[in-house]
C-alpha cells in the first residue's frame, strides 16, 4: 500500500485525478481518497495535523504487510524558481532542531534539497533550505510504522524571495500537476521497493489457515513463521503445504515436518 499525505485539497488534487482515487464515504476525521493499492489523506496545515493524519491512516491500514509513504506539498524557497520540484534529503524541525533523513535507494529524477518545517508561515528565506509546515511531523510519525527507505517528501516551490504572493488553489494544483509524470515514476519505484518488503512477509490468509491446523504456543508460532517464511520464499505452494501437514495432529509434529522440508531444501544452499 502507498499512502499519500497532503495538507491541502489543492495539493492533493493532481494525485487524486491522476490515479482516479475515490473519496471514501465511510471515513471521518480526515478526508480519505483511495483505490486498490494506494490512498491519500488530506491532513490540514501544520506538522501536528500531518502527524495526526499519518497515525490515523497507519491505524486504518494496519493489516497491510508493508506501507510506503509520500508527503507531497508546496514549499517556499530563497531563489529556486516557482514551480520547481524537489525530493527532500534532510528535514529539520525548526522548533525542536531535530533532523530527519529520508533514505534514497533508487534513482531520483527530482532536484534535491533540505527542508525546514516551520510552526508558522514565514517570509524569511535561506538559500540552503526549502520552508514548509508538515514534513517533520509526517516523517517522525511515519517512521513508527515503516522504515525510512519507504518514506519520502516531495515539495514544489510556490513562493520565493522575489514572488511572495500566495497562490490561488487552482494555481497550486497546476504547479504540482505539471510534475505528475515524474511524481508517478517516483511512486512506481517506491511501490516496487515496498513490494520487495511485502514479498518477504507471509500472507495473512495463509498464516491463518496454517494456524488453524493445531494449537501453536507463542514460541511455536515464532518458529512456524521462520520455517514458513523460508519455504514460501522458495516457491512452495501454501495450499500444498497445508495439505501436507493436515494429517499431523499436533503442533509439534507439524513443525517437525515443515522443518524437515526446510532442512532438505536448504542443505545445498
Amino acid at each position: 500500500m502507498l499512502i499519500w499525505i497532503a495538507a491541502l485539497h489543492c495539493e492533493a488534487k493532481p494525485v487524486i485525478d491522476f490515479y482516479r482515487l475515490k473519496k471514501s464515504p465511510a471515513h471521518r476525521g480526515f478526508d480519505l481518497y483511495q483505490n486498490d493499492d494506494m490512498c491519500l489523506v488530506v491532513s490540514g496545515i501544520g506538522k501536528t495535523s500531518a502527524a495526526a493524519a499519518t497515525a490515523w491512516v497507519a491505524a486504518l491500514q494496519s493489516t497491510c504487510a508493508s506501507t510506503a509513504w509520500i508527503n507531497l506539498g508546496i514549499a517556499g524557497a530563497a531563489s529556486h524558481e516557482i514551480g520547481s520540484a524537489f525530493w527532500v534529503s534532510k528535514i529539520t524541525c525548526k522548533s525542536t532542531g531535530q533532523n530527519y533523513y529520508p533514505v534514497p535507494t533508487f534513482s531520483i529524477d527530482f532536484n534535491i534539497s533540505a527542508c525546514t518545517t516551520l510552526d508558522q508561515a514565514s517570509n524569511e528565506y535561506q538559500p540552503s533550505t526549502l520552508y514548509e509546515m508538515e514534513a517533520s511531523g509526517f516523517f517522525a510519525t511515519a517512521t513508527r510504522f515503516s522504515s525510512a527507505e519507504l518514506i519520502h517528501c516531495l515539495k514544489f516551490v510556490s513562493d520565493n524571495q522575489h514572488q511572495q504572493s500566495r497562490f490561488e488553489k487552482a494555481a497550486i494544483s497546476t504547479l504540482i500537476n505539471q510534475h505528475m509524470e515524474t511524481i508517478d515514476k517516483f511512486a512506481k519505484n517506491l511501490q516496487l521497493l515496498n513490494q520487495q518488503c511485502m514479498n518477504l512477509k507471509i500472507d495473512n490468509t495463509v498464516w491463518q489457515s496454517i494456524l488453524e491446523q493445531a494449537r501453536f504456543s507463542m514460541t511455536q508460532q515464532a518458529q512456524l513463521k521462520t520455517v514458513l517464511g523460508y519455504l514460501l520464499s522458495q516457491g512452495f505452494d501454501a495450499e500444498a503445504l497445508c495439505q501436507q501437514v493436515s494429517q499431523r495432529t499436533s503442533s509439534r509434529e507439524i513443525l517437525k515436518q515443515l522443518n524437515q522440508i526446510r532442512l532438505d531444501q536448504s542443505r545445498n544452499l
Partner: protein, 332 residues
C-alpha cells in the same frame, strides 16, 4: 555507485573529504552534524539500503583503536583492531555486519592522523613487544582503496613505526597501492576465501576466486607476506571436494613458503546477530540449514563443525607449514 554522500560539517573542508567528493561530483551531497544521525536511527532496513547505499564521511573521536577480542590474533601477545570504515562494498550473506548496524550506508572516518596517534600510543605502551593491529573488522580493508586511500596512508605509517604489525583483511583485488611501494614484512595482507560453490551462492559482488589468487600472487611475488583465511566454511554436500579444489587452485599459483599465516573457521554468528540477519533475509538458505546454539553462537552442530575443520586441516597440511596455521576462534 552510491546514492548520496552525507558529510559531517566538521570534516567538510578536510583534504581527504575533498578528494572523496571529487569522485562523486554527480552525487547529491547532504551536510549532517554527526554520522549517527543518519547511521543510527532504528527505522531503517539494511537489506533495502544495501542495494544502493549512501556514503557517510565522518571522523572518529573516541575508541579509535580497540583491544581485540580474546582468541583474536596470530600468535602475538598484544592485539588491537581499528576501523577506518563501517560496512562494506561487498554483500556476503554470512557477514555479521548485516546484523551489527541498522544501516547499510558506508561510513568513512577521514581523520587517519588521529588513528595513527592512537596506534603509536598502543605501540609505546607495550614497547619493545610487537603489537598487532587488525583492520578489516568492520569493513574490507582494501575494497574501497581508490576512495579511502587507507593503505596509501597506513601501510607506510606501519612500516616506519617499529614493533607495529598490521593485518589487512580483504576479499578484493585492490593491491595497486601496495605494489607501488617497497614490501613491508610487518604488513600481512590476508585474503579470505570460501570455496567456489559457496562463493557463487553467498558472496555477492566479491571478485572471482581466480582474480583474487592472481592479486595474491602478484603481492607475494613482490615480497609482501600473505595470509589465507578460510572463513567461514559453509556446509553443502560437496563441500570437502570443493574445498580441496580451492586449495589446489591456490597452491598451484602461490608458493606456500610465502604464506605468513593460515586460519580457518566454520560459519557461525552471535545469537542476536543471527536473529537479526535471519529477519532481514528470511528467504536465505544459509540460515535455514541445520544450525544450533553453542556458547551464544549459532553455528553448525559441534560434531559437524569438527568434521569440517578436520577435513580442511588435513587437506591444508599437505601444503602449509604447520607453524603458520592458526585455528580460527573468530569469524569475519
Amino acid at each position: 555507485m552510491v546514492s548520496c554522500v552525507y558529510v559531517e560539517a566538521a570534516v567538510r573542508d578536510h583534504s581527504r573529504t575533498q578528494k572523496i567528493l571529487d569522485r562523486y561530483r554527480q552525487t547529491p551531497v547532504v551536510e549532517i552534524e554527526h554520522h549517527g544521525e543518519v547511521f543510527n536511527p532504528r527505522a531503517q532496513n539494511f537489506r533495502l539500503q544495501k542495494s544502493n547505499p549512501a556514503l557517510i564521511i565522518s571522523s572518529k573521536h573516541q575508541r579509535r583503536v580497540m583491544s581485540a577480542p580474546e582468541g583474536y590474533g596470530l600468535g602475538g601477545q598484544h592485539n588491537y583492531y581499528f576501523s577506518h570504515m563501517l560496512n562494506c562494498l561487498y554483500d556476503c550473506r554470512y557477514c555479521f555486519l548485516q546484523g551489527m548496524y541498522p544501516s547499510a550506508h558506508q561510513v568513512i572516518f577521514v581523520n587517519y592522523e588521529d588513528f595513527a596517534d592512537s596506534i603509536t600510543e598502543a605501540v609505546e605502551l607495550h614497547a619493545p613487544d610487537p603489537v598487532w593491529f587488525f583492520s578489516g573488522y568492520d569493513c574490507d580493508s582494501l575494497a574501497y582503496e581508490p576512495v579511502t586511500r587507507f593503505a596509501e596512508f597506513f601501510v607506510p605509517f606501519i612500516a616506519r613505526t617499529e614493533n607495529s604489525w598490521l593485518e589487512l583483511r580483504t576479499k578484493s583485488t585492490q593491491i595497486r597501492q601496495l605494489l607501488k611501494i617497497e614490501a613491508c614484512q610487518r604488513v600481512v595482507t590476508a585474503f579470505s576465501f570460501t570455496e567456489a560453490y559457496s562463493h557463487a551462492k553467498l558472496e555477492h559482488g566479491v571478485p572471482s576466486i581466480a582474480k583474487r589468487i592472481e592479486a595474491m600472487k602478484a603481492l607475494s611475488e613482490a615480497g609482501w607476506p600473505i595470509g589465507l583465511r578460510f572463513d567461514p566454511l559453509v556446509y553443502h554436500d560437496n563441500f570437502t571436494q570443493s574445498f580441496a579444489r580451492l586449495i589446489e587452485q591456490i597452491f598451484s599459483s602461490i608458493d606456500a613458503s610465502h604464506i605468513h599465516s593460515v586460519s580457518l573457521g566454520t560459519f557461525r554468528l552471535p545469537k542476536d546477530n543471527f536473529r537479526q540477519i535471519q529477519r532481514l533475509y528470511p528467504d536465505e538458505a544459509l540460515f535455514a540449514q541445520k544450525l544450533e546454539l553453542n556458547n551464544a553462537m549459532m553455528g553448525y552442530p559441534l560434531s559437524q563443525e569438527q568434521t569440517m575443520i578436520n577435513d580442511c586441516e588435513s587437506l591444508l597440511m599437505k601444503y602449509i607449514n604447520p607453524e603458520t596455521y592458526f585455528p580460527c576462534e573468530w569469524y569475519e
